[in-house]
């Protein structure tokens, strides 16, 4: 029986105090996510329970009990504190999915500092804009990512410490670099946990919009209240579960449901830090007897593409519950998972800004393949008329997905960007930037973004950021970036460019530009297709009509072109 009991039943008398009571939290109490995810679990008698099974490339295996992660959090926290890191200082985690990433997350929070997790595949420019915006004081990273940090260090006056977790001592440390070895450090049994309260900032994730630079989404320690309960009810985690969240903690799923949710419940989780392959994933599930698997549509479609035959080689009978996040889950994937695993992947919808799941298919609820499901109890979710910003009552009519503010894990601001934050609210509703319709049974059906942001494999890419980076390539005169449909990733980046005089279009230049963006921004932002144009379509006032290029890619009606510039 799912822990949710019954969706309808929960809806009736829902109050977030359900979560507060289970976490033994009262208004005004100290609430520290790092403590809740480790010390409290130990105090509940689970000190010897496995918190983390880690497997890296080449079969490297490690495991940590809840007492181990408590000690590791203390050790890293004390190390940071001894460096002079204080509460609310920003500490960036820029690592692959190695244990130090997860353990540092706890350590940073325990001293009251703000964790700024960044995807380790980011290029130097993507890293720079996020560190500069947050005025980050310390970055914890690995040797392999050090060249990117060194490249931008001179432009980051606030960055005082570059902490290397795998310094091999064969090469000297350079300016501002310090070494920290988890294995060689003396474990710190007791440390004073910083007394953070509900509104103390905790995690700063960066997300992309259509225009401007990426925005730092500020969350607070009280977000735990949402993350705990949604993990319990939607991911349906139970004490004997073995859980695998495939998301990277560089993105919000990887922290809300890859660290905070499961560990605050005292659940054993697994991390696989290798490249994707269907065989490796199935083997991992079988080896650790994973029971709850939280993944993404792109990964599911990649597994579908790998074929059903290889599944026969593995024992996947441990799987009890499956869920998905990041992009809309197409009905084919839901039907496929029912056929292959005997249970559907349940779609969950939420965002970096919401901090926790907002709309979802609940365990035990009738699944409509392709639907997003219904709002979580306590979440007032609607679709708004885009003209008057009032809720649409009529079933099936498309509008803007919006939520009534006030749930515990809602972002508290965009870092240093109050204006952009305020723009997210209209008529007392938080605007998600996504469009959907609601059917006559209250199920939401995703339609698409309400802006030009590209959702590739569940990650948002700003066309503005890619266009700006393209203009830094010596051959590029003008650029316009749009989403291109993709069978596996839903969307990929496509660039339309004009060349400066003296440059000739060709495949070698195309490759050079692709790699230029990949290294500067990230592999996700790299255009997978570049089209050379004589000129880009513009309005008479000179603004590039990205809409026209988007329509061309998607085979849509190009709409009103009365403002298009003529020759």
């Amino acid at each position: 029986m799912p822990d949710l009991v019954s969706y309808e039943e929960r809806l009736k008398n829902f109050d977030w105090s359900v979560s507060e009571n289970e976490l033994e939290y009262k208004e005004g109490d100290i609430i520290n996510i790092g403590w809740y995810c480790s010390d409290r679990i130990c105090q509940k008698g689970k000190a010897d329970k496995i918190a983390l099974y880690y497997e890296g490339f080449g079969g490297v295996e490690k495991k940590y009990t809840f007492n181990d992660i408590r000690l590791a959090g203390n050790t890293i926290g004390t190390f940071l504190r001894n460096l002079g890191i204080k509460n609310e200082d920003r500490v960036c985690l820029f690592m692959d999915r190695i244990p130090e990433l997860y353990l540092s997350f706890l350590g940073v929070l325990k001293i009251g500092a703000i964790v700024q997790p960044l995807f380790s595949a980011f290029g130097d420019e993507s890293l720079f804009v996020r560190l500069e915006n947050a005025q980050t004081r310390a970055i914890i990273t690995q040797r392999k990512h050090l060249p990117k940090v060194r490249k931008i260090l001179d432009r980051l006056p606030h960055l005082e410490f570059i902490i290397l977790v795998d310094h091999n001592k064969t090469k000297p440390l350079e300016n501002k670099e310090v070494a920290f070895s988890m294995e060689e450090s003396l474990p710190v049994e007791n440390m004073e946990i910083f007394p953070t309260v509900a509104e103390s900032p905790s995690v700063l994730h960066y997300t992309s919009g259509t225009t401007g630079q990426p925005k730092g989404v500020k969350h607070v320690h009280y977000s735990l209240i949402s993350q705990y309960l949604t993990t319990k009810w939607i991911l349906d985690l139970r004490d004997d579960d073995i859980y695998w969240c495939t998301a990277d903690p560089g993105w919000v799923t990887g922290t809300s449901y890859g660290i905070i949710g499961p560990w605050s419940l005292g659940i054993t989780q697994c991390v696989l830090d290798t490249g994707f392959s269907a065989q490796a994933w199935y083997r991992f599930i079988g080896k650790y007897r994973i029971t709850m698997w939280y993944s993404a549509p792109t990964a599911i479609r990649s597994l579908m593409k790998a074929g059903d035959e290889i599944i026969k080689e593995f024992d996947l009978s441990s799987l009890r519950h499956l869920a998905s996040v990041g992009e809309p889950l197409n009905s084919e994937a839901v039907i496929w998972s029912e056929k292959i695993f005997g249970k559907p992947f349940l779609d969950t919808f939420w965002q970096t800004e919401t901090g926790s799941i907002m709309i979802t298919n609940f365990p035990g609820m009738k699944v409509k393949p392709g639907s997003m499901g219904k709002p979580f109890p306590g979440i007032s979710g609607v679709v708004l008329d885009p003209e008057i910003f009032q809720p649409i009552i009529e079933p099936g009519k498309i509008g803007l997905i919006a939520f009534k503010p006030g749930w515990p894990s809602m972002m508290r601001s965009y870092w240093n960007n109050e204006e952009k934050y305020r723009e997210k609210f209209v008529n007392g509703w938080y605007l998600s930037g996504d469009k959907a319709s609601i059917d006559n049974e209250g199920y939401f059906w995703f339609v698409g973004r309400d802006d030009d942001v590209i959702n590739t494999a569940g990650h948002l890419v700003s066309p503005f950021e890619v266009e700006s980076a393209l203009l830094e390539h010596p051959a590029v005169g003008e650029s316009a970036v749009v989403a291109k449909p993709d069978e596996v990733n839903m969307e990929v980046v496509k660039a339309f460019i004009t060349l400066k005089p003296g440059f000739t279009p060709g495949p070698d230049l195309e490759l050079e530009i692709m790699n230029f963006i990949r290294k500067k921004l990230s592999p996700l932002a790299m255009p997978q297709d570049i089209e050379y144009m004589e000129k880009l379509p513009k309005t008479r006032s000179g603004k590039i009509m990205r809409r026209l290029l988007h329509a061309k890619e998607w085979g849509e009606d190009i709409g009103d072109i009365s403002t298009l510039e003529n020759d």
Binding site: G58, H145, T274, G275, F276, N515, M526
Partner: protein, 86 residues
């Protein structure tokens, strides 16, 4: 294919991989090093590796053949490329 030509091809691909995708200069990459399954080259970056191969060897590799398994080492990449060379 002659031994020398094969080695030349492998070195060409190996050098490209090292120069473009390997961030840590201390890493040792050989013809057999797993590239995709190890995480050195992610699925998005694989697209640029595919474009490189198609440009360099003047071939067209069908999308269903450009799999993570086929791209997982220099040896497997060269073996794939050889299937499409005249």
């Amino acid at each position: 294919m002659e031994e020398n030509n094969l080695k030349e091809m492998k070195d060409l691909v190996l050098n490209y991989v090292i120069n473009e995708y390997i961030e840590d200069e201390d890493e040792t990459i050989t013809y057999d090093t797993p590239l995709i399954s190890s995480g050195y080259v992610d699925s998005f970056s694989m697209v640029s590796l595919l474009v490189f191969l198609e440009n360099k060897f003047k071939i067209k590799i069908p999308p269903n053949k450009a799999t993570p398994e086929a791209f997982d080492s220099v040896n497997s990449i060269v073996s794939l490329v050889n299937q499409y060379l005249n």
